[in-house]
């Protein structure tokens, strides 16, 4: 069964121009693989702004609360000890650890969110469509699962009209 059709460009500006053309023809571009983040690509293929920032904020807020409340609990409740005459509820002393834990939680929440969301991770088996994507090729991937052959043909034409090279159909 044919699942994908791929084609590549070797310059990001050609890619952007081509993509605009392809999308205007009503084709749905499944994915674009590039060696580096191409400026303006998000807009062209209509990607939403990532919401990972919210994950980071949540992580940070939880971290800050956990950090501060834990210290406050230890010093006022579990282990109220006189250190050099300082008050048990020694807020200035709690700030550094609170801050560090907040940052740690935020960073980890976000990075794990990123990896999980993208299905990236050690041993992840994502399909590598073209080994030169990580070098100098800008590959577009279209989903043709279950499409009729003539439809595929027309897609190929649109692609080649849009200046794409190396049009390949893959399983």
């Amino acid at each position: 069964m044919n699942n994908y059709i791929t084609a590549y460009y070797s310059d990001e500006e050609d890619l952007l121009k081509g993509l605009k053309q392809i999308i205007s023809k009503g084709l749905k571009v499944n994915d674009v693989l590039t060696p580096f983040p191409v400026h303006g690509l998000d807009k062209v293929i209509g990607l939403r702004r990532s919401r990972l920032t919210r994950v980071a904020f949540a992580g940070g807020a939880i971290g800050a609360l956990v950090g501060f409340l834990f210290q406050a609990w230890v010093f006022t409740n579990a282990y109220p000890i006189n250190f050099g005459g300082k008050p048990f509820f020694a807020v200035p002393s709690f700030i550094p650890v609170t801050f560090e834990i907040a940052v740690l939680f935020a960073a980890f929440a976000m990075v794990f969110g990123f990896l999980i969301h993208n299905k990236l991770g050690p041993g992840s088996k994502n399909i590598i469509h073209d080994e030169r994507v990580t070098d100098d090729r800008f590959l577009i991937v279209l989903d043709i699962k279950g499409e009729a052959n003539d439809k595929i043909k027309s897609i190929e034409t649109i692609l080649s009209d849009a200046g794409a090279q190396g049009i390949t159909i893959k399983e």
Binding site: A78, Y79, P80, I81, N82, F83, G84, G85, K86, P87
Partner: protein, 994 residues
């Protein structure tokens, strides 16, 4: 849910929901709950663990078991009678080492003497001790002790030596030969009786006493003046003006502990006392006593006689009496001194440490003129601590060399080491047929005698003493003899055929000789038991002869007086320091590591030189020099040293003392000379030769100026009387600015505090050793002291003020200040050091991981770090660092089981003797009473002969420490940085003429 954590293993099985009072004795958890903590028990939670930490400080067993397995545990199958495990017993005893006498209490834990405390029942030493007294308990466990009798150096049995000695004695007796018992001054009446018994049994026997620190000069002068050779009893407490000539009466002269007590009694400004004595000191080297004087005048030792003569001359001139022919002028001005002395007739005291008979005659004449006999000098009470005249010893050695002595029994002296003509002594010894030594420790003399009959250590022995006329004290064993030793007296008796043990002999002597002197005592047993308990008996008897000052040959002395031979000659003074003394204690690691009160050096002797002379001779600190061709010693530049006077300590350079005594310093005894029959402790016209190389002297303090900081505050009496805050004015300013961002700390029960009267502290170091003994403070050895890693929890800071050629010297004992806003507590990441609800700054050694952050942040630098495994408690094997051999099984017996032994990598510091606080709280609680002021006495305060340290509850406004804190003289060290120390210092007041 309320968590309650067990504090000791027993509590697991005992009641854990106890609410308020538990009077069940023996429950260890119970120790934790002080009276003021009772109310917190109901809400106890994890805080209890901290208390448990406080307890672990007091519990060696629990603490050490965390780190390593208990290696041996032998239970009491049959519990000894009267022994309560974990509870200390105290036995009264007496210490005398040829320098200090002291009435002591021996603290015994589980059968081991572990600490010496002063006996307050003695009216001689009145609870005071000295460094050597404190350290003497370690002597009991000395690695260098004789363990069995020796015959020609081979171990043998008592039966064998007894048989052989009796054989020899009998043969000497048969040929009417001469036996000599050579001993130190014997102050024990019973011992004297035993010697007498021996002399009876062997009629040709002579008894020669030999003092390493001799008072021959005084004895002979008094023989002339009073017709009897004695040392009188001095009363520093009665003197308003004390003039001392090179007499280190708070360090080594005659009876230092007694004198310190007396001296300080008259110099305290607490309790409303508004007057204090004045003390003028003439000397060449800077001594402990001289450094405490109100005025210190530098003279060479050779000038001393001249100054005394001029003083006498001047006194007579003012008095309008006969004045002898003109005498050479005094090198220092004594005119005003003379008139001051006359203003204090009968209330003054002139003394000289010189061993020159003529000089002592001058002193006698002065005191007679001032009417001091009968008031500040008691002639009807004799001080018996020095009885030897040097001539007798010298004569004995000549006799030995002439082959006139057939038997020599050496008791408690080590002449092969400390006699100035030791070669001659050794030669003589070879000509003696029977040579017996009865030492406690393996020492130089032991190697030259045929028989070594080891004596008990004084803590194992029965004995008695008559310190002064009518002042008796007893010594009793605090432990069974550790080795196969036998009391020397018993040996003497045994050789006469008397097989009584010395205990019986002593009791019967007391029954017949001493008991009759007691008034109002009916039964001897009761008398004996009370006196043994008290340790002392004061009969009130007086001497009946030699009371009158009859002869005054001082005019002859004046007439024959010559100008000092060579004013440019360099002279050298020999002194004994407060640590190793005459060298008898050289194998005591605590004493070896004890910094000298003046130089702050330890582990060596060295030649002190004045800064000016050092500059002239182009000698730097620690340069090696040789004096009169003797082995080279390093030089130490000493401010306040007389320009042309060198000084060096005796008592070093032991060869057969064991570790650590051997090879520490050089023996200076051979340099002593004899003049007019008396040993002279100085020599004139010495020859200094610079030797290649330098030698590092271990010093615990290397910076000697306060840099203008108000650390030790002092003033003069005059200014003090005008304004009690004088010298301490800055405090008002500081207090006005003490603003804190923290809530004010409340300590609802106890708030422990300590006050130190700088006016009283002499710097004698007794507290330092007492602290080491009480708290198992490790000895680190010379090299680590050079690396500034000594471990003492209390140190005595010493600063010079003013002109380096003639500085004033001030001292300040510094221990953990137990700050209520302690910078150290804040920074410990693992909460190993915290503040207790009684204001103590506590250390949980178990919790410490050794970041040393607390140490850095301590402004007082009182925290000490275990840089190595000093105690053998590390979990690694084979890395122990113990150059002084303090961790041998024998020496470890001295460890206080109430205090954890710290492992490598742990910080430690003064705990205000928390184990003593807890003990006393427990005691009060079992007795169902409140703690009284003065119940808790930390080791340092207990040991102090000057009563400089006061400890108590600051929350109790009537406690002594609170009163000290309210004194205008009180201040806190570095108060301006708001550490809120619990230690206060009272300004030092000098009665000096400005």
């Amino acid at each position: 849910m309320e968590n309650k954590y067990f504090k000791s293993l027993d509590e697991l099985t005992i009641d854990t929901t106890r609410e308020i009072e538990t009077t069940q004795a023996g429950d260890k958890g119970f120790i934790l709950e002080s009276q003021n903590e009772v109310k917190s028990i109901a809400t106890a939670s994890r805080r209890d663990f901290l208390k448990a930490f406080g307890f672990t400080i007091a519990s060696a067993a629990i603490a050490s078991s965390c780190e390593q397995p208990v290696r041996k545990a032998i239970p009491f199958l049959i519990q000894p009678e009267g022994l309560i495990p974990g509870k200390a017993a105290y036995y009264a005893s007496s210490f005398f080492d040829g320098i200090d006498y002291c009435s002591v209490l021996v603290k015994v834990r589980d059968g081991r003497p572990i600490k010496i405390e002063g006996n307050t029942l003695s009216s001689v030493t009145r609870g005071g001790t000295s460094a050597r007294v404190q350290a003497s308990v370690l002597g009991l466990y000395d690695n260098g002790r004789h363990k069995t009798p020796l015959l020609k150096g081979e171990e043998t049995t008592w039966d064998q030596v007894d048989e052989k000695i009796i054989q020899k004695l009998t043969s000497i007796k048969d040929k009417q030969g001469k036996v000599v018992i050579l001993s130190s001054t014997i102050i024990s009446p019973t011992t004297k009786a035993a010697i007498a018994a021996f002399m009876d049994a062997y009629p040709g026997t002579d008894h020669v006493q030999y003092d390493v620190l001799s008072a021959s000069g005084i004895l002979k002068a008094n023989e002339t003046s009073f017709g009897k050779a004695f040392v009188p009893s001095y009363r520093f407490d009665k003197a308003n003006l004390i003039v001392a000539f090179d007499a280190d009466f708070m360090g080594s002269w005659l009876s230092p502990i007694e004198f310190t007590k007396q001296y300080m009694q008259n110099r305290k400004l607490t309790n409303g006392q508004r007057a204090m004595s004045r003390h003028i000191h003439f000397e060449g080297a800077m001594s402990l006593t001289g450094s405490n004087a109100d005025n210190r005048v530098q003279i060479k030792p050779s000038q001393q006689k001249l100054v005394l003569a001029n003083l006498l001359h001047e006194l007579r001139k003012i008095e309008g009496g006969e004045t002898s022919a003109s005498i050479p002028a005094s090198p220092v001005d004594i005119v005003s001194l003379a008139s001051d002395l006359l203003k204090n007739k009968e209330r003054s005291l002139v003394i000289s440490g010189s061993n020159d008979t003529q000089e002592q005659l001058l002193v006698n004449a002065i005191n007679q003129l001032l009417g001091n006999y009968g008031s500040t000098i008691e002639t009807d009470i004799h001080l018996k601590l020095r009885q030897a005249t040097d001539e007798k010893m010298d004569a004995l050695v000549e006799q030995m060399n002439a082959g006139e002595v057939d038997g020599l029994i050496i008791y408690d002296v080590n002449p092969v080491y400390d006699y100035n003509k030791k070669d001659r002594f050794i030669e003589g010894l070879k000509k003696v047929d029977l040579t017996v030594a009865m030492p406690v420790f393996d020492e130089e003399t032991s190697a030259f005698v045929e028989f070594v009959c080891p004596d008990h250590h004084y803590l194992e022995a029965w004995n008695d003493a008559e310190i002064k006329t009518g002042f008796y004290s007893l010594a009793q064993p605090a432990i069974r003899p550790i080795f196969k030793t036998r009391a020397a007296q018993e040996s003497l008796l045994r050789w006469t055929g008397n097989s009584a043990d010395y205990h019986q002999y002593l009791m019967s002597f007391w029954e017949t000789q001493i008991f009759p002197k007691a008034v109002n005592e009916l039964f001897f047993t009761a008398f004996w038991n009370t006196k043994l308990h008290d340790g002392v008996f004061e009969s009130g008897e007086k001497e009946d002869s030699g009371l009158e000052f009859t002869q005054d040959p001082s005019n002859e002395v004046l007439v024959n007086l010559k100008e000092t031979d060579n004013p440019s000659a360099i002279e050298m003074v020999f002194y004994t320091n407060v640590s190793v003394g005459t060298g008898k204690h050289a194998n005591n690691p605590w004493l070896q590591e004890l910094p000298d009160p003046v130089t702050k050096a330890c582990w060596d002797n060295y030649i002190a030189i004045s800064p000016r002379l050092a500059q002239e001779l182009n000698i730097n600190d620690e340069q090696l020099v040789s004096v009169n061709g003797l082995p080279a010693l390093p030089v130490l530049i000493q401010p306040g040293q007389q320009y042309k006077t060198l000084s060096v300590a005796l008592g070093y350079g032991r060869e057969k003392g064991g570790v650590p005594a051997n090879g520490v310093g050089k023996n200076m005894f051979p340099l002593l000379t004899t003049n007019n029959g008396n040993k002279t402790y100085w020599i004139g016209d010495v020859n200094i030769e610079v030797v290649e190389g330098t030698y590092a002297v271990a010093r615990t303090q290397s910076h000697h100026s306060m840099e203008g900081r108000a650390l030790v505050r002092d003033t003069s009496l005059e200014a003090y009387l005008e304004n009690p805050e004088s010298g301490n004015e800055v405090r008002k300013e500081i207090k006005a600015h003490l603003k804190s961002l923290y809530p004010k700390a409340e300590f609802d029960g106890f708030h422990w505090g300590m006050a130190i009267d700088l006016n009283s502290c002499t710097g004698c170091n007794a507290c330092v050793v007492a602290c080491s003994a009480e708290n198992n403070v490790p000895v680190v050895g010379k090299e680590q002291v050079i690396n500034s890693r000594e471990m003492h929890w209390i140190r005595i800071d010493r600063y010079y003020k003013g002109d380096p050629e003639d500085p004033e010297l001030v001292r300040q004992p510094v221990m953990c200040q137990h700050c209520d806003n302690a910078p150290c507590e804040n920074v410990c990441p693992v909460a190993a050091t915290t503040h207790s609800n009684e204001g103590l700054n506590q250390m949980a050694y178990n919790r410490c991981i050794g970041t040393r952050y607390c140490n850095n942040n301590c402004p007082y630098k009182v925290r000490r770090f275990n840089f190595f495994d000093y105690t053998g408690s590390d979990s690694f094997k084979g890395n122990r660092y113990d150059p002084a051999e303090m961790t041998t099984d024998l020496r470890r017996l001295v460890l206080n089981p109430d205090v954890t032994v710290r492992s490598k990598g742990v910080i430690e510091k003064c705990s205000f003797c928390v184990q003593r606080i807890q003990e006393k709280k427990l005691e009060a609680k079992t007795e169902n009473r409140m703690l009284k002021d003065g119940d808790v006495v930390p080791a340092c305060a207990q040991s102090c002969p000057a009563d400089a340290i006061v400890f108590g509850n600051l929350n109790d406004k009537n406690s002594k420490v609170s009163k000290y804190f309210a004194d205008e003289r009180n201040y806190h060290l570095l108060e301006e940085i708001h550490t809120l120390p619990s230690v206060g210092y009272l300004t030092k007041v000098k009665n000096k003429t400005i």
